[in-house]
Point group: none
DNA sequence: AATGAATGAGTGTTCATTCAT
DNA sequence: AATGAATGAACACTCATTCAT
């Protein structure tokens, strides 16, 4: 009477357990190297139940991506107050971003590495989140430009490139901060903020770097 | 003349053909999803020959990484003249980098995505290349600081973070430029150069962004 | 009732079926020439099930050896009554041995030929059984010596050699009896019993054969 | 001028080198686990040459068996002088047998284990040698019986069984002597000689062990 | 007399997935 | 709500064997 393993739980709870296990395994082993057996075992259920609730490995992976993408954007949004100045918003967003990725390294691995590495069903999923973040950053850039009493006359794709570069830098720093002992989310934020804000400010003021003319 | 299947070629030539095929398949399918059968077929040889020359899937992948890492760093180095000013060096290096990655998208996928996603034998291989590039960039940053008549009093790990952010931004832009039609290597270079050089210059001049004090 | 392919049976039953098939294939083809495909087919299951239950070819082979070694020693022990005189015990043991090996030729091939031929994981397994049998025979020899009112003053390693020779002779006769039509277990027993008991009796009485002295 | 590797040697010499290598590899790895690559490498030649001279793995193995069987019987015959008494002949033959197998363990592994374990083309080859040796021993037994002024009224198949048992005991002791440190060929011979000669002598004199009558 | 280049056929092993209960 | 039993399809890797020189 009363086995060790807890049994018979509502579906929603079981599903979260499965996703927890899947994110961990996918994050550590990679999508392809992860086996459904291992995930089921870590989740403490039998394999058919995983299939019953989540259909297939692809669907399971997609569910992981979606859940973690939502969690990440939610965390960033929760860190930002839109009534504050643009630079402060950027600071707060970066801080939240670095903090969240540091606290959930497997989730970050799933979003940043695994999802992009394994082709189309998944890359699109994470691209959506990325687009949202890039849009957020772009908005800040434009706001900042207005605050500097300048209309951004940068070509549109350069604004896009700028945001892209900023997000890429952030992603790269997140990995670096996670891998380098002694680097905190705050320090990563300071580094990137200094780098980016100054650069963007300069751009907004029209100080551009002149490319050499003697190219082929 | 010109039969479909050329046969009986010296080992060195065959090996390059195999690596060509492997880079393409690994770059497109990913390391785990790539099958040795497919690689052999694309290379126009039988599977045993691939194993005879390259030993194992792991070794084959490592050989790909090494070849492409060497090719990339060589291309960047070839684009830079060390007797020119630091900003010009950075410009030239970025241009070479974006051009090379645009011309060899599968190789870039292998280096940027696949190698990092599949654990230690491979990640280390590409980390070596990255370290070299980050060191190159760091050198330029320091030179630029000296040129601005300032010793870089930034903490050492912040310099490292800076270079890391810059390289990350470059990597991210490379992927973006490859995926966005109409964005050339030159445009990517302009975008990043403006962003980065101004930001770094500001930093060198001691203009730092002040973090808010009211943190927890 | 009695369909061709019975399906869905409990694990323990399936495992025995697999071992049955494996002993047969291993015994007839040899360890290396045996293919897991063939074993699975003879067992009436798919290959993955064999791996699920028995892990690997090595483990499967080891399981065969263990099962058959146990069966053989059990059969011999069951044939012997330890309250009877030593010669009678030897007779009964040999009879049981020859009968069992004659009834299970594939098992005997696995134990006598295959296991010894294929290196350390397996040889050790069967050596354990052999040690037990040699010990049993050695005990009988010593008892017989006591019964002849003589302490066995033979050097210890000569007693060991004796038992070894006796067991070797038995093994050899088993193969011979199996291969020679018309030779029954009983006849093999008679032959060996006469040969061995007389020889040992002589030894026990101190009648030793004198080696020539003119050796180098 | 004078490469390191000796090249271009007459066929007969090369063949012996190949057989040397093959016996070693077959003896140590076993027939199936031995690879032609390894044999060719150990012989210091290319694989096609092995095939040119010895046709196939089967033929190569057969050639090994034949060469070593011949060598073993030759060694035993060379140790025996047919003008001496039967017991002395047996002693000398056993001594030569144990000495030869101890000096050529790989050859003995090929003959005793590998050839018998791998089915018909090979088992027959070694059976021929065995038959010859058994016949030799049988002859000695009969001679010994005559010397004891008795016609051997043992049933024919019992004489065969006797010789079989003796040879089996010898084979078993050879393996045991090789594997047990401190047991020399001479000691193995003493042990077996005492055991066998006494037993056979007894038999020849009509002293038989009486089987129990109460069998089923 | 001798070899570098090459392959068809097969091996053990694993995995995502389903069925019957 | 949950699982023990079972599999089709594929994969990395190896081997005996041959061809062209």
């Amino acid at each position: 009477m009363g086995g060790a393993k807890t049994k018979r739980m509502p579906r929603a709870v079981r599903e979260q357990q499965m996703l927890d296990a899947a994110v961990r395994i996918f994050g550590q082993r990679g999508y392809m190297a992860a086996s459904m057996d291992e995930i089921a075992e870590l989740a403490g259920v039998s394999k058919p139940l995983v299939y019953l609730y989540l259909n297939s490995k692809e669907d399971l992976f997609t569910a992981c991506i979606r859940r973690e993408a939502t969690a990440l954007t939610r965390a960033v949004r929760a860190g930002v107050r839109t009534d504050l100045p643009a630079d402060r918003q950027l600071w707060d967003g970066l801080l939240a971003f670095f903090a969240h990725t540091a606290e959930h390294p497997d989730a970050w691995s799933v979003l940043h590495l695994q999802a992009r590495t394994h082709g189309e069903p998944f890359a699109a999923e994470v691209a959506a989140m990325r687009t949202e973040i890039v849009a957020f950053v772009t908005r800040l850039v434009v706001v900042a430009a207005r605050a500097a009493h300048r209309d951004p006359d940068l070509p549109e794709h350069e604004v896009a490139g700028l945001a892209e570069a900023l997000v890429g830098a952030a992603e790269s720093l997140a990995a670096w901060a996670n891998a380098t002992p002694g680097v905190t989310a705050r320090q990563a934020t300071v580094t990137l903020m200094n780098f980016a804000w100054a650069g963007m400010g300069n751009l907004m003021r029209g100080n551009r770097w002149a490319p050499p003319a003697d190219e082929v």
